[in-house]
Point group: C2
Chain length 304, copies 2
Amino acid sequence: MSLLTIGTVAFDTIETPFGKAERVIGGACTYISWSASYFTDNIHLVSVIGDDFPKNELKALEERGVNLEGLEIKSGEKSFFWAGRYHDNMNSRDTLVTELNVLADFNPVVPEAARSAKYIMLGNLTPAIQKQVLDQLDGSQKLIVLDTMNFWMDVALEELKEVIKRIDVLTINDEEARQLSGQHSLVKAAAVILEMGPKILIVKKGEHGALLFQGDEIFFAPALPLAEVCDPTGAGDTFAGGFIGYLAATDDLSVNNVKKAIIIGSAMASFCVEAFSLNRLKNLNSKEINDRIHKFKQLTHFEV
Amino acid sequence: MSLLTIGTVAFDTIETPFGKAERVIGGACTYISWSASYFTDNIHLVSVIGDDFPKNELKALEERGVNLEGLEIKSGEKSFFWAGRYHDNMNSRDTLVTELNVLADFNPVVPEAARSAKYIMLGNLTPAIQKQVLDQLDGSQKLIVLDTMNFWMDVALEELKEVIKRIDVLTINDEEARQLSGQHSLVKAAAVILEMGPKILIVKKGEHGALLFQGDEIFFAPALPLAEVCDPTGAGDTFAGGFIGYLAATDDLSVNNVKKAIIIGSAMASFCVEAFSLNRLKNLNSKEINDRIHKFKQLTHFEV
């Protein structure tokens, strides 16, 4: 099934206790698309870049089955740039620089062919832009997934709530679930958030795994304990890409398949953090991915 | 198989966002013994109390199959008392009062009949006392589990390391594993700690579950997401009691059975936090326990 991904395509400068990566390829939509591309090849990407973005990176995406018709290239302008520094525990980070550049007046145009995409991944952007995308869809969608962050809850809560009403799956982290719901218990937070519109809530807890709330069902996907986490940037987007890429490929929204999709998203995220930027994510094969998914299965498996 | 539990039997005053419980029954050994008693009834308890400790509480323990021959009652003295206040997130707490009382000069004497107990649970106490207990065992043990805390790593590290050399299973939390090993990554921390002597390391992560490290094997037991956590006091001890109680009952130390024991410990801990003190833990039946274990199984289960 066709998949539409929306989000940033950008440059990042990242400092972690393992080193520094300067002006490397980043952006939510880049991570989402690369991750999804291991499962499905009918991907439309909608984003905006300047003419400073390397052409070979775009070519590599196209070779993965990503259609770039919806990627606006603004001549004479610069791509979005973010710089951040991770703390020693890798769980928190400081933003050092945010240069919106082309993102400042981004008005996404969804190409005609992508308006009927059945699976939609709205990466983290302003709720206003996410709404603009929703307004261009033809209404035939099977699953719309939204990612957002605490910043939009602080500055654009009402707009965000309007968007949340219209989507099927919300992915946020535990602190954001608490902020959005006003509830400390994640069980209570999920009940409040599922009343806002989505059928499914996925709470990402980083190194502590992810929780799925769907009706009365709770599912827990662990994170793989790793000897070394090199760079957590993009892990959430990589998770989302694997999740929706697998669902688009299988076109099966049964509870069990959604659980499998979460494990697959978690497996993809576990690769992402092993290297800076997309360095690990660009060099995977299906055996490595299957072995990793098997490791996730083993991690919680016991005979009764 | 016979089980020997060592630790405090005490009074607690606990404040949580849900209320305050004054001078209620607490102590590591109390939680361990109650929890284990749902799986096995051949339990020897070694601890010390003053004559202020309620007789009906001791009778209740005896009715659960707990032999109190090793419980010293010091006439005219007071039982150990701890008071603490939990923060809003329930993950951290401040100690308000610690009155050692009878614990100040506790010299545990393991009764003759308990020296050949096959399963040993050394609850959190000074490493010196834990060593005294080990020295009285007859050497025929099948499994010795040790619980400890960061405080002993701060003030008695070398003594603690001597004790750790002599045990089979160490249970500590994630921050303690990092402190003991000097490694931030739990995978690396486990490798360092397993070199210190134990065959198995269990890292307790509270609301984020528990990790088992055994050789190259890693197993993850989730925590049950709960709508309300009333009082986390004793959850770690209840976990340990369920873990070793189940192993003592089944006398099966295969990797799979150890995993099951961790799930059972987690299930017991999930009951413990539902009420102050031992209020929930004292009123369980086997159907409730089996249903809860089933919930844990479901929480991570998916069909491949």
